[in-house]
Symmetry: C2
Subunit: 178 residues, 2 copies
Amino acid sequence: MSQEYLKSTIRTIPDYPKKGIMFRDVTTLMQDAKALSIAVDMLAEQYQRHTFDKIAGAEARGFIFGTALALKLGVGFVPLRKPNKLPGKVIKETYQLEYGESSLEAHIDAIQPGEKVLLVDDLLATGGTMLASASLIRRLKGVVEDACFIVSLTDLPGESRLQGEGINCFSLCQYEGE
Amino acid sequence: MSQEYLKSTIRTIPDYPKKGIMFRDVTTLMQDAKALSIAVDMLAEQYQRHTFDKIAGAEARGFIFGTALALKLGVGFVPLRKPNKLPGKVIKETYQLEYGESSLEAHIDAIQPGEKVLLVDDLLATGGTMLASASLIRRLKGVVEDACFIVSLTDLPGESRLQGEGINCFSLCQYEGE
């Protein structure tokens, strides 16, 4: 089964980045040609009855599957970047991390009012990056109702936080326990 | 013509990041569905008679077209990342920037000995990031003979430096003058 094959290519690194965390390493999936192709096909199939205008992904790992899926769905890709990386006029969204805070920026003309935008990332944990991404797009008057992931960590609140903001989540592989 | 269409979607921002620099902004190409598709098709066509085992791209903008082209060519994608981002065992390459230095890391098992690797980035300027990328892959005993770009800045020494290391360059759009 495709999902089992994908899971077999995801490497788990115990105690990274700190003791007690089981880190799900998706780089071993993306460097496997078959798994990369299956993953993008499965995401595209999920959205075959949807019509999106753009896909957006956050720096840096959101760029990886975001662009591949944009190509597959025949839409453009919008990179949401860390501060001072985008050369044009931007808006910025700052959000909390476990320790400290982080920010993302979007070009103000990257999304046109009313455009439907699908958010893509490799892994959904607490959802902070995705909520900041959705906020940026909504401030540009884009419509965000869907987000998708290769992996979701189901005992963390990412999915419920996104649903609370009216965003449906879809993931290919689910893991319990960080 | 396709190349002209691509160029029409690339935004030029004068005096960014400093006075006198004409910054070629490829985000406006990638957010255009037609341009994204044409660009990846043109890169794939260039390499239709080549056989690569992997594509590698450097954080962060190399991830964007790298993954899309990997999917198109049916190979895996290897992300070369900034320090302390990859969870597994890595090798590191440090290189000079105009001011200061930067580093890239690769997982030691991302490339198998003898694998042929195509390097991808959005823009070729002085070639520092690409030379560091090639060095990482060669230290893992991968073979690097080709690198491709959406944009190359032809009055900068990137292409000649890469050729000096035995790497052929291909770009879709060329610009003279920084």
